[in-house]
């Protein structure tokens, strides 16, 4: 496991050489500068890929909804309508930027910015692969919870600042919904932390394995429930249907972003789609084994053992790419489920939503937490299937040797 992308790159022999060369040319110690540059480039890549994911997310959403409703979906711009999101972007940027007369001008400007900043900052800890994690903070999941709740603030500020009744209602709903669902989400994540014994995404992922029976979702019966609590809570946090009450278009026009036009609205939408990706990524990392590749392919050990001709450094890179692919695959599978849910289930009523959270999900999450704590104490952290396997082999052993 590597702390940051810089410490990962620093393992390569050329890195320190390059640092010393640059220091020589500039005439001072350039370690900090190079670190900054590497981070800058990595951030640039991640942000652009994520913006692409957000754009393609809108496309995927429309295409899948069209499939579900037996329509065509976007098919004019580019091959299969793939460039639709670019066309939308151009449209958005040339739209007039209307600030309502009675709005709080400063907050009206700050709200979309807050949403974007919150979502982007949460990208910092997403473990794409063992090498390519921007930074594996030792307080990882805690940091993620804190930063992602910035989006809730943004939604409330957006609703408040517009000074429109629809926006205000949407903002109030959004704020109460997001803070309510934060509780079961936090408790479910706590359960994972109990199982992994660490807060950073690296530790949590490394505590799992490549094959499904090594994932935390199948660790014990409680964690199986905890995954669904987390997933439903994440849907509500991202304001996705059936929890899209803050922007319920059939009741509240467009909810908290009723008054936002052009690019400001575009940034709200972009933040929402990236947040869905982030939350799917978090679910995948916490419960579905994250970037672990089966059979030790991820660390490159498999290739090093069986193909000695391949340089170990290259083998490691191949492993890393595989890890990246596995992680993105899991995340996108969850992303598909999220979209699928949106176009299948009807929206909840506000009081049902709060009841679901406080009377069902929170007690269930607490029950899970206690259950997992007792499980770890009773079985010393062994997983359900390990116990079954050892019980089976014990039985086989008593029956006639294994």
């Amino acid at each position: 496991m590597n702390d940051t992308i810089v410490s990962y790159l620093a393992q390569a022999p050329g890195y320190s050489l390059a640092v010393s060369k640059i220091s020589e040319i500039l005439g001072f110690d350039a370690t900090g500068l190079v670190t900054f540059l590497v981070f800058g480039i990595a951030v640039f890549i991640v942000v652009n890929v994520m913006a692409l994911v957000g754009g393609l997310g809108t496309y995927a959403e429309r295409k899948i909804s069209a499939d579900i409703q037996m329509r065509q979906g976007p098919n004019r711009v580019g091959p299969y309508g793939l460039l639709q999101f670019l066309a939308d972007g151009v449209k958005m940027i040339t739209k007039e930027d209307v600030t309502p007369r009675d709005a709080d001008k400063t907050l009206f400007f700050v709200a979309p910015l807050l949403a974007l900043v919150g979502v982007f900052m949460s990208l910092a800890v997403i473990p794409f692969s063992s090498g390519f994690t921007l930074t594996s903070l030792n307080i990882g999941v805690f940091y993620l919870l804190g930063v992602s709740s910035l989006v809730g603030v943004a939604i409330f500020v957006g609703g408040y600042a517009s000074n429109s009744k629809w926006s205000m209602l949407g903002g109030m709903r959004g704020a109460s919904q997001i803070i309510s669902y934060e509780v079961p989400v936090t408790l479910s994540i706590l359960a994972v932390v109990l199982m992994a014994g660490g807060l950073s995404f690296g530790t949590i992922t490394e505590a799992q394995g490549g094959l499904p029976h090594q994932w935390f979702i199948l660790h014990n019966p409680f964690s199986f429930i905890a995954f669904f609590v987390l997933f439903v809570g994440a849907l509500a946090e991202a304001n996705r249907a059936p929890f899209d009450l803050p922007e319920a278009e059939s009741e509240l026009v467009s909810g908290y972003h009723t008054e936002f036009t052009g690019m400001r609205f575009a940034f709200f939408a972009l933040a929402e789609y990236i947040e869905v990706f982030v939350l799917c990524g978090v679910c995948a990392a916490l419960f579905l084994g994250g970037y672990n590749v089966p059979f030790g392919l991820g660390s490159g050990d498999f290739i090093i053992k069986n193909f000695p001709a391949v340089h170990p450094m290259i083998a490691k890179q191949i492993g890393n790419v595989l890890q990246l692919k596995v992680f993105v695959l899991k995340t996108l599978a969850l992303y598909y489920v999220v979209i699928w849910i949106r176009w299948t289930l009807p929206r909840l009523r506000v009081d049902h939503l709060m009841t679901l959270c406080w009377k069902y999900m929170t007690p269930i999450a607490i029950f899970n937490l206690v259950g997992i704590a007792i499980w770890i104490y009773a079985f010393e952290g062994k997983s359900m299937l390990t116990l079954m396997a050892s019980a089976l082999s014990a039985m086989a052993g008593s029956g006639g040797g294994h």
Binding site: G40, V47, A124, M168, V183, G197, G198, M263, I366
Partner: protein, 116 residues
């Protein structure tokens, strides 16, 4: 810069990047987009009706209760994170019992609260 703070650098860069992207897009858009606000256009949207009063009025007190309960649970979460992080190590050392008992006590106090 110490190594400890180094790992937080991407966080700052990401935040700065988001700000630059947002402000930049709005500035670029300024060159491209029309700007002719009218009285009707800048009034709050209320499905075509003329709005009555502002939206900044009193709201239901129950939102306040939700906020209070949320704070209690959030603090609970914050207190339990350190315990959860070291719990596995305690169990491996064979001292999980007291920690588990404390955890259960803490949770039961909170459960009492929520059921109340």
């Amino acid at each position: 810069m110490s190594h400890n703070l180094d790992v937080y650098m991407p966080v700052l860069i990401l935040a700065a990047f988001a700000a630059i992207m947002f402000v930049g897009a709005l500035l670029v858009g300024k060159l491209l987009r029309p700007h002719n606000p009218t009285e009707l256009k800048v009034s709050p949207y209320e499905c075509g009706e003329v709005p009555i009063g502002t939206a900044w009025s009193n709201f239901n007190i129950r939102f306040y209760v939700v906020a209070l309960i949320f704070i209690i649970f959030d603090v609970e979460g914050a207190f339990m994170f350190p315990v959860a992080a070291v719990f596995k190590r305690f169990v491996e050392m064979g001292e999980g019992g007291p920690v588990l008992a404390l955890l259960l006590l803490f949770i039961s106090v909170l459960l009492e609260g929520i059921s109340y």
